[in-house]
Amino acid sequence: MIHFYHVTKKFDRYSTALHDVTFHIEKGEFIFLTGASGAGKSTLLKLILRQMEPSEGQIVVNGRNLNAMKRSQLPLFRRDIGMVFQDFKLIERMTVFENLSFILTVLNVSPKEHKKKAYGVLRAVNLQHKLNAYPLQLSGGEQQRVAIARALINDPLILVGDEPTGNLDPDLSAEILQIFADANLRGSTVVLATHDRELIRNSGRRVMTLDHGRIIDEKVAVPERPASRDTLFGFASS
């Protein structure tokens, strides 16, 4: 679903955000992307959405070579990706509902369904009561949840989150993570960048760790308290 081949991203002579990164994410996977601040997580996600182009290397997303993609093909390509931006990117002039219904207009969803769909995703993120609020009237965590709702609204093929739980308390973070897991079960490929170790630790999912623009560690997170079937493989429970 997402393939990076020797991808390097330089911003200028002195700052290289990604160094020769190669990895593959298969359809239906759920993967965490972690690493210290400035490690290159956001840069990697932006490359997936083709918010920027790589300096070197090839990127294939959803069967399309991004290096060869024409500008006119960009909108349709992006409609298959639901992205939760680190800075939310909500349209301040529009209410929460309008922010969601705008996406549906872009996706050519009939206006009759806008209310139903918007309400559905807002309930999932527990914000149905803020339908008519403007983004600036919301707390950081609430804005973040609107951004998540927007990314989820049309069951995207690929769901990308850049620190989607960065402004949320642990309880809510777990809840939001469950929403991503549900989307994953419905068929979306999910990529989440986060430095929330707690979130990753017990997930049992694939984790990719970046450090100064390089992949230093790729493994499946092991639950601390393994489930009973893990004992079959020799993990002792404490």
Binding site: L74, R79, M83, T105, V106, N108, P111, D155, L157, S188
Partner: protein, 311 residues
């Protein structure tokens, strides 16, 4: 279920998109009321000027049309022509059957007529000591006679007759009037087009300004997969709306000015009055005026969104 396949082709414009365009355009016009007002006023003003020329030409043409069909020859005498000279000319007329339907207009009758036609300037005429109007014969003729060979010979004979100043065919001055109407139309059209182009550029600038204002938002829209059409549509609609509103305002203003002027200049029945106020523009021309505003707005907004940059 997540969609298994991504859509490769864009569906046709659904009605939802058009409603969105209109709603957004109205909202943007409202948010930048002042610059919208400037743009709309520019359009209205240029179309008003064009409309004024069109209206004058329309009335001239109307007058011409009313006189057409009657073919008349005027034989004007010099102001000091003697009765003998007049009688001699009359004898020429009498000798040709085609010129028999004649009517003599004396100097005094001519003056009276002028006073009746141009009653609003007749005060001025009243102060003139000497009557400047010549005596004349008005002769009604048929179309077939006009085209006959005898006609030119007869006219030359009349022109040579002593005391005759000139022989005038009124279809000549009708043609003059028609030419005048055409010139007024053309001048109006040129002035209107020049002004409309200026107005289109004003609209282009207003919209460019709005696009700057919405730069952040536009980049977000691109990131979530909005096509250029969806992003730029509201701006195009905004321009078209501004142009159309300007056109409607121009038409309304023109009608108001026409009615007011008609009431303020009272003497009904005078020739000049009939020249200027016999009719308002027909609905087709009013529609063309409004359509002109629409087009100017469309061109203006198209000019501003055509530039492919990352606004």
């Amino acid at each position: 279920m997540a969609r298994e396949f991504s859509r490769l082709e864009e569906p046709k414009v659904p009605s939802g998109t058009l409603t969105y365009f209109l709603r957004e355009a109205l909202r943007r016009i409202w948010t930048s009321k002042r610059s919208s007002f400037v743009a709309i006023s520019m359009i209205a003003m240029s179309l008003f000027i064009l409309g004024t020329f069109m209206l004058i030409a329309e009335n001239l043409e109307h007058a011409v049309a009313q006189w057409q069909g009657k073919s008349r020859i005027n034989v004007y005498f010099e102001t000091d022509a003697t009765p003998q000279q007049i009688r001699a000319a009359e004898q020429i007329l009498a000798s040709h059957g085609e010129l028999a339907r004649r009517n003599f207009v004396s100097k005094n009758q001519a003056l009276d007529r002028f006073r009746a036609y141009f009653s609003n300037v007749s005060d001025l005429v009243g102060q003139i000591d000497e009557n400047p109007f010549p005596a004349s014969f008005e002769i009604e003729v048929t179309q077939t006679y006009l085209q006959s060979r005898a006609f030119d010979a007869h006219m030359n004979e009349l022109r040579r007759s002593a005391g005759v100043e000139q022989v005038q065919f009124d279809w000549e001055w009708l043609a003059e009037l028609r030419r005048l109407a055409r010139i007024i139309n053309i001048v109006g059209l040129i002035a209107g087009v020049v002004l409309a182009i200026a107005a289109a550029f004003t609209i282009a600038n207003v919209i460019r300004l709005t696009m700057m204002l919405y730069r952040e938002e536009i980049s977000i829209m691109r990131l979530v997969g909005a096509t250029e059409r969806i992003i730029r549509g509201p701006f195009i609609v905004e321009g078209m709306l501004q142009g159309t509103i300007g056109g409607l305002a121009a038409a309304a203003l023109l009608y108001a000015a026409f009615s007011t002027a008609k009431q303020m200049i009272p003497p009904t029945g005078s020739l000049l009055w009939g020249f200027l106020f016999s009719t308002f523009l027909p609905w087709q021309k009013v529609a063309a005026l409004v359509g002109g505003g629409f087009v100017a707005g469309w061109v203006g907004s198209w000019l501003s969104v055509r530039e492919r940059d990352d606004l």
